[in-house]
């Protein structure tokens, strides 16, 4: 997925597409673009609704997402605010965020 997202998003930082380069720079493997994880989280929030429903969207990237990881999205809605947490298959949090809707 990092390869395809690089093409679609123009984010060609080598830490996302070149394993040797990523490891030489202290990472365990190539890592998924944070913006890709954020985009997948937005998809989870919006589903098939109008995209303008999202007014603000803020996230913190907590752990890198590696090839083969499976992500689990959990969100809780309080009035117009949505709290979101994304975890990987080991239960480690990779993203925590908040969105407001209109």
């Amino acid at each position: 997925m990092p390869y395809f997202y690089a093409g679609a998003s123009l984010d060609f930082n080598l830490i996302h597409i070149d394993r040797e380069f990523a490891q030489a720079n202290g990472l365990p493997d190539i890592i998924l673009q944070g913006m890709c994880t954020m985009g997948l989280t937005a998809k989870h929030i919006i589903k098939n609704d109008h995209p303008s429903k999202v007014e603000t969207f803020k996230v913190r990237f907590l752990n890198p997402v590696l090839p083969g990881d499976e992500l689990n999205f959990e969100s809780e809605m309080n009035n117009a605010e949505i709290d979101i947490e994304v975890t990987n298959q080991n239960g480690n949090r990779v993203l925590r965020g908040k969105a407001t809707t209109r």
Binding site: S9, L10, N25
Partner: protein, 149 residues
């Protein structure tokens, strides 16, 4: 490191949103929302062109950010750069056919010691994007971490 004077550096660029790029983007994400891909459906809503998903902002901001990454003071940091936080505030929706003008400015740069005692650098970039009608489409804050050696 000689990056102390990057605060205030400002970069601008235009990006024209194409329907094809939106389709490519949502296909990678496996996103089947018809607001992005179904011309007839969107036309039936308000007569306009398909919408871009919110995080498509990463794409129309990219040409302005690229100018920053190519800056000689910054380019050597890019291999050790990871994305720490990201914040968006959305105004008018971005749609296929829109011409988006983005300014990106470095607003913060400081050193921070992380949990394991490594000295990282934090760089904050703010972007402002407007469309061809001078309407605000998006403001964003990119918080980037430059991992210590």
């Amino acid at each position: 490191m000689s990056t102390n004077n990057i605060i205030g550096k400002k970069y601008e660029a235009d990006y024209e949103i194409s329907f094809e790029k939106i389709k490519e983007f949502v296909e990678v994400m496996g996103d089947k929302n018809p607001h992005y891909t179904d011309r007839d459906f969107v036309k039936s809503l308000d007569g306009g062109h398909p919408f871009a998903p919110p995080t498509f902002a990463a794409i129309y901001c990219q040409p302005a950010l690229k100018n920053l990454y190519l800056d000689s003071q910054f380019s050597k940091l890019v291999p050790r750069l990871v994305h720490g936080e990201q914040e968006y505030n959305f105004g008018d929706p971005a749609r296929a056919g829109d011409r988006i003008h983005t300014t990106a400015e470095v607003v913060k740069h400081f050193n921070k010691t992380n949990r394991s005692g490594k000295d990282n650098q934090v760089i904050e970039i703010m972007t402002t994007s407007t469309n061809q009608n001078d309407k605000l489409v998006c403001t964003a804050t990119y918080r980037l971490i430059i991992r210590g050696e």
